[in-house]
């Protein structure tokens, strides 16, 4: 018997959401505690904006394809 199928896009959204949140968190941490050996172009704060992009994409997909909502 088949259970309710969760869309693959929901799983992808969840992945981007969680990873985005973790990366933004790591970026904020680096702002507060600058690393001893910074990466190249650390001044661009890629963790913050790339993490935010992933988080927003993930949030959109999670809401759009959440279980129980017709796609």
């Amino acid at each position: 018997m088949r259970g309710e199928a969760i869309s693959i896009w929901f799983f992808i959204g969840l992945s981007l959401l969680v990873n985005g949140a973790l990366i933004v968190g790591a970026g904020v941490w680096q702002l507060i505690y600058p690393p001893e050996h910074p990466v190249v172009l650390v001044s661009l704060h890629a963790s913050l904006w790339w993490g935010a992009v992933l988080f927003l994409c993930g949030l959109t997909y999670c809401l759009r394809f959440r279980p129980g909502r017709a796609a």
Partner: protein, 567 residues
């Protein structure tokens, strides 16, 4: 800055922070969760082996591409870009796009309408049991061995890059793949491949973005490469007039006829590892669109694979070398270029995502190998030769167990390669023996109704044996390269391409000759299998922008423009 860089990479290539490890661990949890979620949706053989034939064009298309986008593919071609320059892009453009469009627009209707479960299954319908057995046994054997070789190579990379124990990498990744494929079958493999595809882009795209910012754009990058290496490294076609004018030692005829016409068509249209993803599409239009969607994204892959290799030529303060030299002198090898670029730009969090992208690439490739092996073993060997009339549930159980056994054989191969490294070269060469002749057999079978069962079988066998023969000839007498590859200066890649071309010609000639000497099948037995005997459903009811042929033309135009832009 250089001193900081040298310190950073001195011990191991990258050092993961706790947040990086959380991201990697979350990935493993998620792929297993997908497998558990889908375990109730793979109760019939159609569900387990063909994902119920209900995938949308997007899912089938991304999975089609992702099954090929393994970690070794990512790191290997980034390394090739560092070593050979932009010429490596040929493997993504002319070495893939025309073949993918041909699969979608010309071949897919026959694969799909025939309702075959596999490429060997199509050969059985078209040419009979002997051709299927030859193709299935060679594919199953080589796929599972290749999976083991990839597994070992990836574990080695994890050791070099992260300092992880080889045994830990092999067992954790292989058991994870075995669990989610055995639980959810092809559907689980496909869903995870789509997830992995997205993660690969999310994890790798920052390198070219930040790299281009650092170098000051494409024009400055080219200028810097001309200083650090040579201006030949940034031209796609203009240096291919002679074997000696380009870093790869290859001629344009090898690229166009060997790679573009034979190797890529062989791989993308007949290797069941990728074709299986498209066969899972929900209808014919989705099946035709899937390779075209895959082709669209394939054109973009050089952004995350080739561009980092080129950027490394411009910005890395260290000079990368071959593996042997790197080991002897304690430096870094070409194969480490992608992890080095990750370490250069990605701090905590981003680094974890980048490493997750590499692991995801490895697992998607392995899941592709394992699910294709399982299907071919169950349908084309076990059911065809050992037990024909078992209940459907029996074949599903066989599929689940074969998944586990296939992974264990792969693990065994990985350990075998660990002891005898030279096996890797032989197995990779063996795999290439079958691809080009198989394309000859399948394409003649689909497009020429006069091709007979005997012609198909003997053509496939002759093409394969000729490929093995040429390979052995060059091994025994290196001067034979002037005949096989048309030049004594040809390098390994050029030799592979010309060998593929000759073996395809052998296959086609033998198939045609034997076919004219033997009795063809009547037309009524070729319905659904061959052009001219099969009515292809029309798509007149859908608007032009939903037709596969429209998107095929769009992709083809972009393909031509890109080749001219980077000429």
């Amino acid at each position: 800055m250089m001193a900081v860089w040298a310190m950073f990479v001195a011990d191991r290539l990258v050092h993961l922070s706790p947040v990086d490890l959380v991201i990697v661990a979350f990935y493993f949890v998620l792929v297993l969760a997908i497998g558990f979620h889908l375990r109730g949706q793979s109760n019939t053989s159609e569900d387990f082996f063909m994902a119920g034939r209900e995938m949308t064009a997007w899912i089938a298309g991304l999975s089609f591409l992702s099954a090929n986008l393994g970690a070794l593919e990512l790191m290997g071609w980034a390394a090739a870009a560092y070593q050979y320059g932009i010429l490596a892009t040929h493997w993504y453009w002319i070495g893939a796009i025309p073949a993918m469009l041909f699969l979608g627009l010309v071949m897919m209707p026959f694969y799909y309408i025939s309702k075959t479960h596999s490429v060997p299954g199509y050969l059985q319908l078209r040419f009979g049991e002997a051709s299927r057995t030859l193709s299935a046994v060679s594919f199953a054997f080589m796929t599972v061995l290749m999976s083991g070789i990839n597994m070992y190579s990836m574990a080695l990379v994890m050791k070099v890059v992260l300092g992880w124990d080889i045994n830990f990498s092999i067992w954790v990744s292989s058991l994870t793949v075995a669990a989610y494929v055995a639980l959810g079958g092809l559907r689980s493999a496909i869903f995870n491949e789509v997830l992995q595809f997205i993660l690969i882009w999310a994890g790798a795209l920052l390198i070219p973005i930040l790299g281009l910012i650092e170098t000051g754009g494409w024009a400055n990058l080219k200028a810097q490469i001309a200083v650090n290496a040579s201006s030949e490294y940034t031209h796609l076609w203009s240096t291919l007039g002679s074997f000696n004018d380009n870093p790869m030692g290859i001629h344009w005829t090898g690229i166009v006829f060997g790679l573009g016409a034979i190797i890529s068509f062989g791989y993308w249209t007949t290797d069941f590892l990728v074709v299986q993803r498209v066969l899972s599409a929900k209808d014919l239009r989705a099946a035709k669109m899937a390779p075209i969607i895959g082709a669209g994204f394939k054109m973009l892959v050089p952004i995350i694979v080739i561009l980092p290799g080129l950027l490394a030529l411009a910005v890395l303060p260290v000079k990368l070398t071959g593996e042997t030299s790197a080991v002897a002198n304690g430096g870094h090898s070409y194969n480490e270029v992608l992890p080095l670029m990750l370490a250069r730009y990605c701090g905590p969090g981003l680094l974890g995502l980048g490493i997750t992208a590499l692991i995801a690439g490895f697992m998607s490739g392995m899941a592709g190998n394992v699910s294709a092996f399982t299907t071919v073993w169950t349908y084309d060997i076990y059911r065809a030769l050992i037990r024909k009339d078992a209940p459907d549930q029996h074949y599903v159980s066989m599929g689940r167990w074969t998944t586990v056994v296939g992974v264990l054989i792969s693990v065994g191969t990985a350990y075998l390669v660990m002891q005898f490294a030279s096996i890797m070269d032989y197995v990779q060469a063996l795999f290439s023996f079958f691809i080009a002749p198989l394309f000859g057999t399948v394409v003649l079978g689909m497009l020429w109704k006069r091709a007979t069962p005997a012609g198909g079988f003997w053509g496939l066998l002759a093409g394969t044996l000729s490929s093995i023969g040429m390979w052995a000839w060059v091994k025994v007498d290196h001067s034979a390269l002037r005949y096989v590859a048309l030049s004594p200066n040809a390098r390994d890649m050029a030799e592979n391409m010309y060998r593929a071309l000759w073996s395809w010609i052998f296959c086609v000639v033998v198939t045609v000759v034997v076919s004219y000497l033997t009795q063809p099948k009547p037309d009524r037995e070729l319905v659904g299998l061959v052009y001219g005997c099969t009515e292809i459903p029309h798509e007149s009811a859908v608007p032009f922008y939903e037709k596969p042929v429209f998107w095929g033309v769009v992709v083809a135009i972009i393909f031509v423009i890109l080749n001219i832009l980077f000429w």
